[in-house]
């Protein structure tokens, strides 16, 4: 039996300002539960904008002119409040600084569970579990502002995982990690997939996305390719799209 489509994008077009340049043009694709999907494309082609649409930040926070639909677990993001969507779609931004605000790493991770009014003991268990998963116990009491770029991404990932979303959207999270940490996080993502999570990865590093089941290629805001990850072995094809 085919897995359910947890993300449905239907003829999505978007520009940041009414009458301005179209950043996304008529995108249509679906993502099934438990898939790892990589979104590739040259810088400026709309990858991060698409991520913001998947998380509901567009249009709820950034506005702009959006047409078409983004359905998350069957619900149109336009009709859902961001707080509700955040329970289903965990996003780690390309610039992790924009989503870190607590005085310590532990507080950062506990923030969302606390706001969900979980019992204190449950929050402690969740924080311990997530810190262990991501491998940042040594950073537990650090101020996120004092961390390196790669460490901030790890903390943002941990904070998002604490909410238990079924879908993860990771915008260039692996890029700033050293080799050992990248390996650990890649294994974590594979484990999360085994547990049924759906993962959408935006990366420029083609080696980092070899774990993907499927690859979507954006060019100038349009979806020009949607295929299996075996595409990543086709050097001629990738070079033709300036990805190699």
């Amino acid at each position: 039996m085919a897995a359910a489509a947890v993300v449905v994008v239907n003829k999505l077009s978007y520009c940041y300002q009414q009458g301005g340049k179209q950043i996304l043009k008529d995108l249509s694709f679906t993502v099934e539960q438990g898939q790892i999907v990589a979104i590739l494309g040259l810088s400026g082609c709309g990858k991060s904008t698409l991520c913001l649409c998947l998380g509901g930040i567009i249009p709820h926070y950034l506005g702009g002119a959006i047409t078409g639909q983004v359905l998350i677990n069957g619900r149109d993001t336009v009709d859902c409040k961001i707080a509700r969507l955040a329970l289903e779609v965990g996003m780690v931004f390309q610039d992790a600084d924009t989503q870190l605000f607590s005085p310590t790493v532990e507080d950062e991770i506990a923030f969302a569970p606390e706001n969900l009014c979980l019992p204190p003991e449950r929050i402690r268990q969740l924080v311990d579990a997530v810190i262990g998963m991501v491998g940042i116990n040594h950073l537990r009491y650090e101020n996120p502002n004092n961390l390196s770029g790669g460490q901030k991404h790890l903390v943002a990932l941990a904070a998002v995982l604490a909410m238990g979303p079924s879908i993860l959207v990771l915008d260039e999270v692996l890029a700033q990690l050293d080799a050992a940490v990248k390996k650990n996080i890649t294994e974590l993502l594979l484990e999360l997939r085994r547990r049924g999570k759906t993962i959408i990865l935006v990366e420029h590093d083609l080696e980092a996305v070899t774990i993907a089941d499927r690859v979507l290629l954006l060019e100038g805001g349009m979806l020009v390719m949607d295929g299996p990850s075996s595409i990543l072995r086709n050097k001629e094809l990738l070079a033709g799209h300036k990805l190699l």
């Binding site: 810088s43 400026g44 004092n146 961390l147 770029g149 460490q151 700033q176 050293d178 990805l243």
Partner: protein
């Protein structure tokens, strides 16, 4: 003579218990591409900020062209050393892309037509022409990074310090950046870059230094 020399430099952030950098001795010559690598959180960005005078050593000293940096202003250091932050947004502040590149040149009091020519060349080289009148903070991260590099390079610093310059860049633009860095080196200027991008380092670096547990190790290329 080393272009930048770090002599027994140790560093600890104010209020922090842990000393991040221990007794660093490092000579940076004004030739070739030096890559600094190492685990996350080990102090690479901190070391780069010490090199350009944004941070001051807790102990030890740093010289630039033989002169102690402690006796120089950031503006004086900035004439010789260009710095591109890990997060390019930190150094973008003009209303348009073209103005971002022209800002430094105008402050050097170059003639207007010369500024225009250099800006046009820079926009073309970094493929930012179509964004010339765009608001920098509305660009994608990769475009912002290209713009920050373009703006710093326009001033032709003798040493360019780049913190994770390939993050957000697709393969094609990494290649352009690599060509640009090669050109800088052939014009007798140096590059010092922090990077986790092993493929980029292998392709372009002539010297690799690793920072781990606050100490440096050098690898032969």
């Amino acid at each position: 003579m080393a272009f930048i020399e770090m002599v027994q430099v140790s560093f600890k952030y104010p209020g922090q218990k842990k000393t991040l950098l221990h007794d660093i001795n490092l000579s940076i010559r004004k030739d070739g591409i030096t890559a600094l690598t190492g685990p996350n959180g080990t102090g690479k960005t901190t070391l780069s900020k010490l090199m350009v005078g944004i941070l001051v050593p807790s102990t030890g000293y740093i010289t630039l062209k033989g002169q102690k940096m402690s006796g120089m202003t950031l503006a004086q250091i900035g004439r010789w050393v260009g710095y591109v932050f890990q997060n390019p947004e930190k150094q973008l502040f003009c209303p348009t892309v073209a103005e971002e590149i022209s800002f430094g040149l105008q402050n050097l009091e170059l003639p207007g037509h010369e500024v225009q020519r250099l800006v046009k060349e820079s926009l073309a080289y970094f493929e930012l022409e179509h964004l010339a009148q765009s608001f920098p903070l509305q660009l994608s991260q990769g475009e912002k990074r290209r713009l920050a590099i373009a703006a710093v390079l326009a001033l032709e610093p003798e040493l360019l310090v780049l913190d994770e310059p390939t993050t957000g860049l697709d393969a094609y633009r990494k290649h352009l950046l690599g060509e640009c860095l090669d050109k800088i080196v052939t014009s007798e200027r140096g590059v010092f870059m922090i990077s986790h991008d092993n493929n980029f380092i292998k392709k372009y670096a002539s010297r690799i230094i690793k920072l781990e547990n606050g100490r440096l190790t050098e690898y032969v290329c």
